[in-house]
């Protein structure tokens, strides 16, 4: 819900009419009686689609009397302050201008654009996005459209933004006509992506075909197409597209790393564990974002029976950066490794450790209490990819709204502070509502996963017990164990782990442990 103007009170039906006629989709007010904008009365009276001039509309809304007319010199002052780098002052004066004029006023579109720029400079990105949206959607100043879209494109890559507002309401729902080349990729990609999501594959393909080859959005589009092939279980076709992305000299880390991880997963499914591991190792995203990579690598190494490396990767997952990562699998692999090395007691300890971490959550599921009250389940659900962006966006809104108070001295008097506070409050409420809707489903999914792990851990515990029994009954052989040692020098450095995690070491952990199975007579 967005408000871009105050000072005018209108009835709901008048609002609906004015929105429909003026195309002000950014001015949405949910309840009757909230403040709405009104067009100015002294504007030239262009004929509306329905034959109503702005004057007539203004008369209908009765807003003319409510406006304090503010002259263009206020706008000029705002722009001057912007170019002088005084973004707080610029926002203040631009708001003076906007709140004293109707959206149809001569410089209103420019005022919105400069307001967006100023808020952007002040790192109030959501406020900026709202105004860029207005500029791009209303197009009262069509010449500003490319700049507004450009700014939105940059913000969409830098910070979490309101994707429903920008991607769905603005880009997907709008035909922009001719768009300059450097923006076409962004627009076509978003439109194609949403077509794919909505199942309109052919339309999506048409959009993707219009993107310049070799550009950032071209490879993002190819990635979407590869994932679509994957969803259809066309592994070979999917791999072909992924390999095309990797073979390019394209260096955008997000696309390349997602591609690497996807390829590694396919290779893993094809039981090419070594190749999968090598592919995982090529991922160079920030290490704190590699929790899933570590876990998947550990599985690959486990299947290769390289337990030392697999366990090292699990140790890396103990790093504080991964504290919140929901990974009951870690305990499962750990217990399996210990069991495979015939360290049965510690294998049982790993099972106990799992219960210590997740026992309370499992109990909550069994007891059918409100699962969204359980911190572990809630935290795990919030790691659902669909929710991560939304919760990050919620976090950004909270942060930015908190920072608005810093400007209370400058923006308190003229109402800009209240206006921005209201924008943020409404968006936070809306985001929380949407988050809650998706959260219920995510919690249920986490609960199901956890029950499955619980079952596997129970089975594993039983198998460990059985192995202990077999060992007691067995006769030791004379087989020699391979000795492990740490060299005192050499081309490799061995940093004994003392509990302090260094980012550059997380990929290099190895677990040295004796294989106690050497003296065991196996029944099989």
């Amino acid at each position: 819900m967005r408000l871009n103007k105050v000072n005018c009170i209108g009835l709901g039906w008048v609002l609906a009419l004015s929105l429909a006629l003026a195309g002000q989709s950014s001015l949405a007010v949910a309840q009757e009686g909230e403040e709405v904008p009104a067009p100015a009365g002294d504007l030239p009276p262009p004929a509306d689609d329905d034959g109503l001039s702005d004057e007539e509309l203004a008369e209908l809304e009765g807003g003319e009397e409510d406006l304090d007319r503010v002259g263009p010199e206020v706008f000029d002052e705002g722009v001057k302050l912007y170019y002088e780098g005084d973004y707080v002052g610029a926002s203040k004066r631009l708001w003076d201008y906007m709140s004293g004029n109707a959206p149809g006023a001569k410089n209103y579109g420019y005022a919105e654009y400069f307001m967006a720029l100023s808020l952007d400079q002040l790192n109030l990105t959501h406020g900026a996005v709202e105004y860029y949206f207005n500029v791009a959607k209303n197009r009262t100043k069509p010449e500003l459209l490319p700049d507004a879209l450009q700014a939105l494109e940059v913000l969409s890559r830098k910070v979490p933004i309101d994707q429903d507002l920008i991607f769905k309401d603005l880009i997907y729902d709008t035909s922009f006509g001719f768009i300059r080349e450097d923006l076409r990729g962004f627009i076509e990609y978003i439109q194609g992506l949403l077509d794919y999501r909505n199942g309109f594959i052919q339309w999506g393909q048409l959009h993707f075909q219009r993107i310049d080859k070799g550009s950032y959005y071209y490879y993002k589009a190819r990635y979407v197409q590869a994932v679509y092939e994957l969803v259809k279980f066309q592994l070979e076709e999917s791999l072909k597209i992924f390999e095309e992305i990797m073979a390019s000299d394209f260096e955008q880390a997000d696309v390349i790393n997602k591609t690497r991880q996807s390829v590694a997963r396919i290779l893993f499914e094809q039981k090419k564990f070594d190749e999968a591991y090598q592919m995982y190792e090529r991922i160079d995203s920030p290490v704190e974002k590699q929790a899933s990579v570590f876990l998947e690598e550990a599985w690959a190494k486990y299947y290769q029976k390289d337990f030392r490396r697999a366990m090292g990767l699990l140790y890396a997952l103990e790093a504080p950066a991964f504290y919140r990562y929901f990974n009951p699998e870690k305990f499962l692999i750990k217990a399996l490794i210990y069991k495979n090395l015939c360290h049965y007691n510690v294998a049982k300890d790993a099972v106990a450790e799992y219960r210590q971490h997740y026992g309370e959550a499992v109990e909550a599921i069994y007891n059918r209490v409100d699962m969204d009250q359980n911190e572990i389940l809630l935290d795990a659900a919030l790691q659902d990819p669909a929710l991560i962006e939304m919760s990050e966006f919620g976090g950004l809104l909270d942060t930015e709204m908190g920072r608005l108070a810093d400007y209370s001295a400058d923006w308190g008097e003229n109402g800009l502070l209240d206006h921005l506070n209201r924008i943020y409050e409404l968006k936070i409420k809306d985001t929380n509502r949407r988050l809650k809707m998706k959260l219920d489903r995510a919690i249920r999914s986490v609960a199901e996963d956890l029950l499955e792990f619980e079952e596997q851990m129970n089975l594993l515990e039983y198998e460990i017990g059985l192995s202990i029994y077999k060992r007691i009954k067995g006769t030791p052989t004379q087989k020699e164990a391979s000795k492990q040692s740490v060299p005192s020098s050499g081309p490799q450095v061995y940093y004994a782990f003392d509990g302090e995690f260094w980012n550059d070491e997380l990929h290099d952990f190895r677990f040295f442990i004796e294989d106690r199975c050497f003296s065991e007579e196996r029944w099989e």
């Binding site: 190792e281 090529r282 991922i283 160079d284 920030p286 290490v287 366990m311 090292g312 140790y315 360290h343 510690v346 492990q484 040692s485 740490v486 005192s488 020098s489 050499g490 081309p491 490799q492 450095v493 061995y494 940093y495 004994a496 782990f497 260094w502 980012n503 550059d504 070491e505 997380l506 990929h507 290099d508 952990f509 190895r510 677990f511 040295f512 442990i513 004796e514």
Partner: protein
């Protein structure tokens, strides 16, 4: 305490402290029993020395009559990551001394003249080098700096104004790697030389820039093995 004994004691103490400080953490690395499991971060060395050419400055602080500065040059052949041979070290201190004024003061205040005030001209020595410590430290929590410590044991000679004296020397130092080919080294050496009347010593404090020739022969390209985990 006799001044010469005190001087020896002081210099030995300095070197010992340096050795203890640099050697102390060694005891923390307890390889221990691997049977119950132990985690190591195993990394290829980012910095490996090959053939080292070094130039530097030195300061000889313990002579009561003269404080010496010296220009130094070294060539070190690194056999591997643990052992190296400092084939030659030359430090030239002739004409680079500062008179402390003690001799003049003794003469004017007490009418006493010093008997043994020979100046050092230069050193030349060859040393065995052992490099047991290699690691990284966090600098201001912003940068990771790689270090190596080394210990020296060697033989050589000290040339005074009138004569050569054979010497043995021990020392310890620390190398800070700047790049694969450039490093800074800081070191302290104690030269114990045999003079006509007995044994005496000279403390040598130096630092220098080293160029690691043929570094590429020993460079392990971690990035070719794994891309970008360094932060």
């Amino acid at each position: 305490m006799h001044p010469s004994v005190q001087r020896k004691f002081t210099s030995l103490l300095l070197v010992s402290c340096l050795l203890v400080l640099m050697g102390g953490p060694l005891s923390a690395d307890d390889s221990g029993d691997l049977s119950e499991g132990r985690v190591y971060a195993i990394q290829d060395r980012d910095f490996r020395m090959s053939q080292e050419f070094s130039v530097g400055l030195a300061f000889l602080p313990l002579d009561a009559f003269y404080k010496y500065f010296a220009l130094s040059g070294h060539y070190v052949l690194h056999f591997n990551d643990l052992w190296a041979w400092e084939a030659i070290h030359v430090s030239f201190s002739k004409f680079m001394d500062i008179n402390t004024g003690l001799e003049a003061q003794m003469s004017s205040d007490w009418d006493v003249s010093a008997t043994d005030t020979e100046k050092i001209d230069y050193f030349i020595d060859t040393n065995l080098m052992i490099k047991p410590m290699y690691g990284k430290v966090a600098l201001f929590n912003k940068w990771v700096v790689y270090l190596e410590s080394y210990f020296l044991l060697g033989v050589g000679a000290e040339k005074f104004q009138t004569a050569w004296f054979p010497a043995v020397d021990v020392g310890a130092g620390m190398r800070i790697f700047l790049t694969n080919t450039l490093s800074l080294r800081f070191e302290a050496r104690e030269y114990i030389y045999i003079e006509e009347g007995g044994v005496d010593s000279t403390l040598f404090l130096g630092f220098g820039f080293s160029y690691n020739a043929f570094a590429e022969d020993r460079f392990i390209d971690r990035d070719s093995q794994r891309v970008g985990v360094r932060q």
